[in-house]
Subunit: 155 residues, 2 copies
DNA sequence: TCAGTTGTTTCACTACCTGAAACAACCATG
DNA sequence: CATGGTTGTTTCAGGTAGTGAAACAACTGA
């Protein structure tokens, strides 16, 4: 699936774009952490809460989505639960599984967070509507290209 | 300098682009961590080493570049130094400061890492040269828009 | 029934990260 | 040149994130 020539160096234009993407990533990441921090959340907590604000998920699936070990999710959910942002529910179909769900307050916090992403407004504001559409198209193709590792439902 | 109406919700197109950027960020970040991991480096170690592969830097400046506390840098440099990838040198002009510098092996590791970023090749490979140029332009404008916080030299 | 599997947690361990305090070296001023 | 303030680095305590192994309960299939 991967490149046939893993050591071939990309051309200058590609390298420059990679550099720029790296900068954007750094900016976005920093802004995200800061927005989370303003709500006394860590980045990991914010990411988990964002997932749960869409739909409740069992611990196991949370771990898969966050690409980490289930034992790690336990701790993050513990801390969010202690603050009343998340709760654990039993799964009626399988008494082993605990379904983590955002509470009303948790959903509110997640919405707040999403809407406060400064990065969304400021740098993007420099682009016209047409340019944003062009950017959307390019990003979609980048992401679609290597087919996101969606090994989720066929588990 | 920021938006006048911090709570105004962005339009749908903007939100979608933000979503896509988020996805790109997640992909890039994961790939970066993985590439680092393959060389037995953590993400933080890899980022610090990348900086030092360009030029030696005093601890204080490293902290500024990494946007973290100097006390944190101490530990990361400690671990890299223990592995021979980085060394601390005295600053002839100021006996208080320690200048961290990548060793030959450290520079090699950083170059390796940079060239192995899969994200550089695969998703970008889906774009034509023209599209890459367009993307470069858009990213540049996004980053230039809010003037990167370059409070570095006037320190 | 009972062996194997799966979902969650606990535990030990490492790394990251912050803030406060210690310490050395610099610098300015009297 | 003494001395007090500042700056650069480290140490420490404390909390979060992350892994991997082991424990445990509950499910599943033979």
């Amino acid at each position: 699936m991967a490149s046939e020539y893993p050591t071939r160096r990309p051309d200058a234009l590609t390298m420059e774009v990679v550099e720029l993407i790296g900068d954007v990533v750094a900016r976005f990441y920093a802004d995200y952490e800061e927005a989370a921090g303003e709500r006394a959340l860590t980045g990991a907590q914010a990411r988990l809460l964002s997932l749960l604000s869409l739909e409740p998920l069992p611990m196991r699936k949370l771990a898969k989505r966050l690409k980490c070990e289930p034992s790690n999710v336990t701790g993050i959910v513990d801390r969010l639960e202690a603050r009343g942002l998340v709760e654990r529910r039993p799964d009626p179909n399988d008494r082993r599984v605990k379904v983590a769900a955002a509470t009303e307050e948790g959903r509110r916090a997640a919405r707040d967070l999403r809407e406060s992403l400064r990065f969304a407004r400021e740098p993007l504001a420099a682009l016209s509507g047409e340019e944003r559409e062009a950017l959307r198209g390019l990003l979609r193709r980048m992401l679609g290209a290597d087919a996101g590792p969606e090994a989720d439902s066929p588990a």
